[in-house]
């Protein structure tokens, strides 16, 4: 019995250390695999047998695997991921806005307005100068083009946010399906110890973390380690069941304000549940689509397009208000003012998107700058218009330059919040990931040591077999 027992012990040792080598090799192979948690081979001593009054061990048995995943760290990383991607997306959008508004350069929109007002100031001295009037028309056209272009580009940015949300919804639905799929696979792939396949656990965690980059995700685990995923309290994955998201645009019939929501869509119940993502790219893009870049936004938030529209509207209204009762160079002998204006639009209120130079002043001599007919040297109107720059009631109790400075200040503060937020979060994220990697990731030195260890143990185990073989040969030869 003893001789055959040694052979069995040797066989078990060979298998065990081969298992150890497999685990180590897998660790080394997956050093750079995203979300991979290192594994450790766990050995236990096999059940002993009683011989000559003593219990003798029968080698190694009951190998199992240990994974180094920490639920607390996973949860914190998920939280940070959502905030980080939200800030990153904010920064991208504010960088685009900064380019559109040409800030902080000397060629910004406020400067274009100041330039036009300065020309009116020059015309106050030389109202009869056709050359200066030509310059005025040119500056007005530049202003119009700059505001049109800024408005169109900001609208395009809003459309981009919508497209990003749609893509993210598709991505989220794939991830939701993936997570539900892993829950199912994990239910079917228990190892001989009844443990989950760690590979699928890791893959599921990667998918959950990806989902957390889109919105605020929380996870609960059932007793059988099935992950149930929620976005801001709304259940997206319930065991093997996936609930899908859908973007939903709502247009207000009265104001035309369009707002976008992310909804949980239950096909069977034809039910939509609004999800407020609270973090991630969903949160950032929805915020920009529904507020920052929405010119019809009715919330109390800061809308760049709305502010630009008010600025343009007030400016055009003020200038036109002065011009409409004034006379051009060729308006002799008329009693009623010809009613010409500088700015107009093709439809309704003059806004950043539709402002244009009126065709009624295409001849520079027709620009009405005189308060009385037949007096080209009368610059009362030009002087009054140039005084708009000092008008403290221009808009929201501010002068044009104050309004624009404060407007840019608000944009800059939002951008600054995003940059500072990202900086702080990145640092925390780096620390958390380091902490998690310190526990979960592969250490090449450690694996090299394990390789040597298992190799040597494998060699030693093979020596047990060789020795047992020799003993058996000796025993067989005894009988000859």
């Amino acid at each position: 019995m003893a001789t055959f027992s040694s052979l069995e012990v040797g066989r078990r040792a060979l298998l065990a250390h081969n298992f150890g080598l497999d685990v180590t090799s897998n660790n080394i192979a997956n050093t750079n695999t995203e979300g991979y948690s290192r594994r450790q081979a766990i050995f236990s001593e096999a059940a002993p047998y009683l011989t000559q009054g003593y219990y003798i061990g029968t080698g190694v048995d009951g190998q199992s695997l240990r994974s180094f995943r920490e639920e607390y760290l996973d949860r914190e990383v998920r939280k940070i991921n959502g905030k980080e991607t939200s800030y990153e997306n904010d920064i991208e959008i504010f960088n685009a806005i900064e380019t559109i508004l040409r800030e902080p350069t000397d060629n910004n929109l406020g400067e274009v307005v100041n330039n036009l007002l300065n020309i009116f100031e020059e015309l106050a001295l030389q109202p009869e100068s056709i050359g200066l009037r030509e310059v005025l028309l040119h500056k007005a056209q530049t202003l119009v083009e700059r505001f049109n272009s800024a408005s169109n580009d900001l609208e395009a940015l809003r459309v981009q946010a919508y497209e990003d949300i749609k893509q993210d919804v598709t991505k989220a639905n794939k991830l939701i399906e993936e997570i539900a799929g892993y829950n199912k696979v994990l239910g079917l792939t228990k190892d001989r110890n009844g443990q989950d396949s760690l590979t699928y656990v890791d893959k599921r965690e990667v998918a959950i973390e990806e989902l957390a980059k889109l919105g605020n995700v929380t996870v609960t685990y059932d007793d059988n380690r099935t992950a149930n995923v929620f976005m801001n309290g709304i259940n997206l994955v319930n065991q093997e069941e996936a609930h899908y998201l859908k973007e939903f645009e709502n247009v207000d019939g009265n104001t035309g304000e369009s707002s976008l929501n992310i909804m949980l869509y239950d096909k069977n119940k034809e039910l939509y549940i609004d999800i407020d993502p609270k973090a991630g790219t969903f949160y950032s893009n929805l915020k920009h689509y529904n507020v920052t870049l929405d010119r019809r936004d009715s919330s109390l938030g800061f809308s760049i397009l709305k502010e630009l529209d008010s600025y343009v509207s007030a400016f055009a209204e003020k200038i036109n208000g002065f011009l409409v009762g004034a006379y051009g160079l060729n308006d002799y002998g008329t009693t009623a003012a010809p009613g010409r204006i500088l700015f107009t639009s093709d439809s309704g209120e003059i806004l950043a998107s539709n402002i244009k130079v009126s065709s009624s002043v295409s001849d520079p001599a027709d620009i009405p700058l005189s308060a009385t007919a037949g007096t080209p040297g009368n610059s009362d109107i030009a002087r009054s218009i140039s005084r708009i720059s000092q008008d403290g009631t221009f808009l929201a109790g501010q002068t044009p330059s104050e309004f624009y400075s404060n407007f840019i200040g608000k944009v800059a503060n939002l951008a600054n919040d995003a940059v500072n937020g990202e900086k702080a979060i990145k640092l925390v994220s780096q620390q958390l990931n380091s902490q998690r990697n310190s526990i979960m990731s592969v250490n090449e030195d450690e694996e090299a040591i394990n390789l040597i260890k298992y190799q040597k143990n494998f060699e030693a185990a093979s020596r047990i077999i060789t020795m047992s073989n020799e003993i058996l040969s000796t025993l067989v030869n005894l009988g000859r």
């Binding site: 100031e121 001295l125 080209p376 330059s401 940059v419």
Partner: protein, 332 residues
């Protein structure tokens, strides 16, 4: 602490990214001379700079315009000065004409001389600056000058000849076709200034009153009491001399008015120039404040850049060691 392989790489990548970003920003600061590269850098300063730049540009614009306006006012002053000299001459000639030594033809010569001076005065007051008439109110160009009949020119002042009458045997009359409106400019952000002399400030009521007295003098010198042209030997009568003395006093009074009004114009110009000088100083101060808010501290930027480049160099040098040093490197 257990150090996994990925930790080293991740920290290395994170730190390199931070260093490169900071270095890139400082390089931009160095090349642009500006401290603010993005709007997010210093929102407070950005708002201040916008307000400062606007104030500065407005002042610069006022400085240029005030200088132009001052040139125009100076031109008006020069022309008014020439008018004053000419009117003084008319006055002197009027007094001279009453001397006993002049006979009829001598008196007529003086009368014609006075008429020539009137023509000179009209040339002075019809002068333009930069394409606009100086003394025609807000009717500053030829198109706005409305002539009563087709024979008239498109100048603000014109000497015309009407039918002879008992009151005006020569029929001469100076007509003014402009208006008496003041031309104003904004001289700074909150006040305005009048930059012209109107015709009535120069020549009294309707912008021609002074000329009426001068033409009356001319008529007395050219025509006798019966309104016929003065004979060669017909010198001025006592009544005519008294009349000329009265008219000459009127001219002298108007001369005083023009001198006074021209002095007013000069004082307005000086006010304008004083304001302009103040604004020039303000622009310098505003530029200083703008620079403090906006410009990069070159010494700081350069020392930061040097520091970052040194650190970056060492970090990059450490990369080969980071990728090489594991136990595997020593296993054979």
């Amino acid at each position: 602490m257990r150090i996994s392989s990925n930790m080293s790489y991740d920290s290395f990548a994170f730190n390199i990214e931070k260093l490169q970003e900071s270095r890139y920003k400082n390089l931009l600061r160095q090349s642009t001379g500006k401290d603010m590269i993005n709007i997010a850098d210093k929102p407070g300063s950005l708002m201040d700079v916008k307000k400062i730049v606007t104030a500065q540009e407005q002042r610069s614009n006022y400085i240029n315009l005030n200088n132009l306006a001052a040139s125009e006012m100076r031109a008006a002053e020069d022309q008014a000065e020439a008018v004053i000299t000419a009117m003084q001459k008319i006055r002197d000639l009027s007094i001279t004409s009453t001397n006993m030594i002049y006979d009829g033809s001598g008196v007529q010569s003086i009368g014609n001389y006075i008429k020539g001076i009137v023509t000179d005065i009209l040339r002075n007051v019809n002068a333009d600056f930069n394409g606009k008439y100086l003394f025609s109110g807000t009717k500053t160009n030829a198109n706005s000058i409305e002539a009563d009949n087709p024979g008239m020119n498109e100048m603000p002042f014109e000497l015309i000849k009407n039918e002879a009458s008992a009151d005006n045997p020569s029929g001469f009359q100076v007509v003014f076709k402009g208006n008496m409106e003041q031309r104003k400019i904004n001289k700074d952000t909150h006040s305005t200034e009048i930059i012209n002399l109107t015709a009535d400030e120069l020549f009294g009521e309707n912008g021609t009153k002074t000329f009426e007295a001068i033409i009356d003098i001319y008529n007395i010198l050219l025509f006798g009491p019966d309104n016929t042209e003065r004979e060669n030997l017909e010198s001025l009568s006592r009544e005519e001399k008294i009349k000329i003395a009265e008219l000459q006093q009127k001219v002298a009074h108007d001369l005083e008015e023009i001198t006074k009004n021209n002095a007013k114009l000069a004082s307005r110009r000086e006010r304008l120039e004083t304001v302009t000088e103040q604004m020039t100083e303000e622009v310098v101060r505003l530029k200083e404040v703008q620079s403090l808010r906006e410009d990069a501290d070159v010494v700081k930027v350069l020392s930061d850049l040097k520091k970052e480049e040194t650190v970056l160099q060492y970090v990059l040098q450490s990369a080969p060691r980071l990728t090489r040093l594991t136990l595997f490197d020593f296993l054979s």
